[in-house]
């Protein structure tokens, strides 16, 4: 993979990235490219550091080795103000939505506009209503975050993420814990926003079906390495057993159903054996 030609059309490139938490290696020398205007998905089982990758791209964490560049800028070499300027062009959708709980829906969507622009209030109102209309929640503008369902909260967060018209949106597990209807709504929204606004989208997810339906390119991560990559169709046909198990959701395969343990029969019998040992020992004592 190192012989890869740098892609001129990629918005984000991750080069030879390594990152560890404590002793645990989360990424081990991986390289990924995210193309402009495309939806790229990062998939993998829970705990493979998918969210960590988004935090690295957003500059919230620093890699141990390697570099990440977004739109030609090395994220971790930027000064604080330049990093903040870059972040204004990146929207991020958190798993929880991360809406500000002390503001209603309208103010949440208006938040980035009020913080970063000096637009007059009527114009902010127009923009907010446009963004809310795009996610279908214009009527919910006066609700507080605790009155929203999970799917609605995520759609509000999406409206907030596109408030500043970013060039890229990072989605952290957008489908997790959604009912089929909101799942469908979100899938549709992500695809539609990406195409109509000309965004670049990075989706981190383990929902195989929804993600394959909208992604242009998929990376499958496993244990800090890239286990497979390609278009959804290529991934489906991947000859890697690991990728096959992940995509089909088979309970057993290269990833075992059982946590590593001693042989089952031995383990069950060992309890009687240990009783045996005890009795033997007693026997020895009595002898």
């Amino acid at each position: 993979m190192d012989s890869r030609v740098p892609n001129q059309n990629s918005l984000v490139s991750v080069n030879n990235l390594s990152f560890s938490r404590g002793d645990k290696k989360i990424f081990d020398d991986i390289s990924l490219e995210f193309e402009r205007g495309k939806i790229t998905a990062i998939m993998g089982p829970s705990g493979t550091g998918k969210t960590t990758l988004l935090k690295l791209i957003g500059g919230q964490l620093c890699p141990d080795q390697g570099s990440i560049s977004v739109d030609g800028q090395n994220v971790h070499r930027l000064s604080r103000s330049n990093l903040y300027n870059l972040r204004k062009r990146i929207g991020m959708l958190f798993q929880s939505g991360a809406l500000l709980t002390d503001m209603n829906v309208y103010d949440n969507v208006a938040f980035p506009l009020r913080e970063h622009t000096h637009l007059p209030e009527p114009m902010i109102r127009t923009l907010v209503l446009m963004k809310l209309q795009a996610v279908g929640l214009r009527g919910a503008r006066n609700l507080m975050p605790n009155e929203l369902s999970g799917g609605m909260a995520r759609r509000v967060a999406l409206a907030r993420a596109i408030a500043l018209d970013p060039m890229m949106i990072l989605y952290d597990e957008p489908f997790t814990g959604q009912d089929p209807i909101s799942m469908g709504a979100l899938t549709h929204l992500i695809k539609a926003l990406n195409n109509t606004l000309g965004l670049t989208s990075i989706i981190v997810s383990h929902d195989v079906h929804e993600t394959s339906a909208i992604a242009d390119y998929i990376y499958v991560l496993s244990e800090g390495k890239i286990a497979g990559q390609g278009t959804p169709a290529e991934i489906q046909k991947s000859d890697s057993e690991w990728v096959q198990q992940f995509m089909t959701g088979a309970a057993d395969g290269p990833v075992h159903f059982h946590y590593p343990a001693a042989d089952y029969v031995d383990d069950l019998l060992s309890s009687t054996k240990s009783y045996g040992r005890v009795s033997k020992r007693y026997g020895r004592i009595s002898r």
């Binding site: 957003g58 300027n85 972040r87 990146i90 709980t101 980035p112 913080e115 970063h116």
Partner: protein
């Protein structure tokens, strides 16, 4: 033996590291105060939730502390036939010590714990991380206004506490126990010094407000972002604030009143 020394070393190092992180946090907070100038609304909201919402507990506690002072003071002073000086005793104890100290302890319990829980929950629900990704510095946007609000509220609350306390002392001393009303107020007026008593009390309350707000904000910002972490941080806020307030009170008292 060696192990316990090691343990002691670990604790010491841990607390100094935390102090260091707390100081860095404070240094990040202070520049954010300038950003409040064009946006007074942020400060006003916090003045309400930190200051105004502490109003009730401070007033009621102040009233009762003053009433108890009136009662106890009368019992002792009447043994010496000095009931007339009750006003001085009540006012001096309140303005010098009880006003700043007790109101700061109440402040840490009411406003401090609320601040820690609020910021801790914002951290746990990714609101702070979300702000950072929206290129909004959470320290400037969230922490600085709360810090200034705490700093401004505390001296006012302490003054309110002392004032209500003096009225409480008067209700019991003059109203119930029959101390002369004129003596209560005039003795107070004659004996209490503006510089020595009132200004020193205000200085104390400013220091306590600074420390209590700082601890509350830092504990919230530094907490482990889980529900358990937030609840622990809230407890630590109250405990650490109480220690710091009482310890600092001794030092300040020694500096202010030590030589007379």
């Amino acid at each position: 033996m060696i192990q316990s020394i090691q343990h002691l070393g670990k604790i010491t190092r841990g607390s100094f590291t935390k102090l260091g992180r707390g100081t860095i946090f404070l240094l990040h907070t202070l520049p954010g105060l300038i950003n409040l100038l064009p946006r007074p609304r942020l400060l006003l909201n916090q003045l309400y939730s930190i200051g105004v919402l502490s109003f009730l507990i401070i007033t009621i506690s102040g009233l009762f502390v003053g009433m108890v002072l009136g009662l106890q003071g009368y019992n002792i002073l009447s043994d010496f036939g000095a009931e007339e000086t009750l006003g001085v005793m009540v006012a001096a104890s309140l303005v010098r010590e009880l006003g700043p100290v007790v109101s700061a302890l109440l402040f840490a319990g009411r406003a401090g714990s609320a601040l820690t829980a609020e910021i801790g929950l914002m951290k746990a629900t990714e609101q702070l991380a979300g702000m950072e990704m929206m290129a909004v510095d959470p320290i400037k946007r969230i922490v600085s206004p709360r810090f200034l609000a705490g700093l401004l509220s505390m001296p006012l609350l302490a003054a309110l506490f002392s004032m209500v306390g003096i009225i409480g002392g008067q209700i019991v001393g003059v109203g119930l126990l029959g101390v002369d009303d004129g003596a209560y107020w005039s003795q107070m007026q004659a004996k209490l010094d503006f510089q020595d008593d009132i200004v020193n009390g205000v200085i104390k309350s400013i220091v306590f407000g600074f420390v209590a707000t700082w601890i509350a904000l830092f504990e919230g910002y530094d907490c482990i972002p889980t529900s358990e972490g937030v609840s622990r941080a809230t407890t630590r806020t109250v405990v650490n604030s109480a220690f710091s307030i009482l310890g600092l009170d001794f030092i300040l008292t020694a500096l202010m009143f030590g030589d007379n």
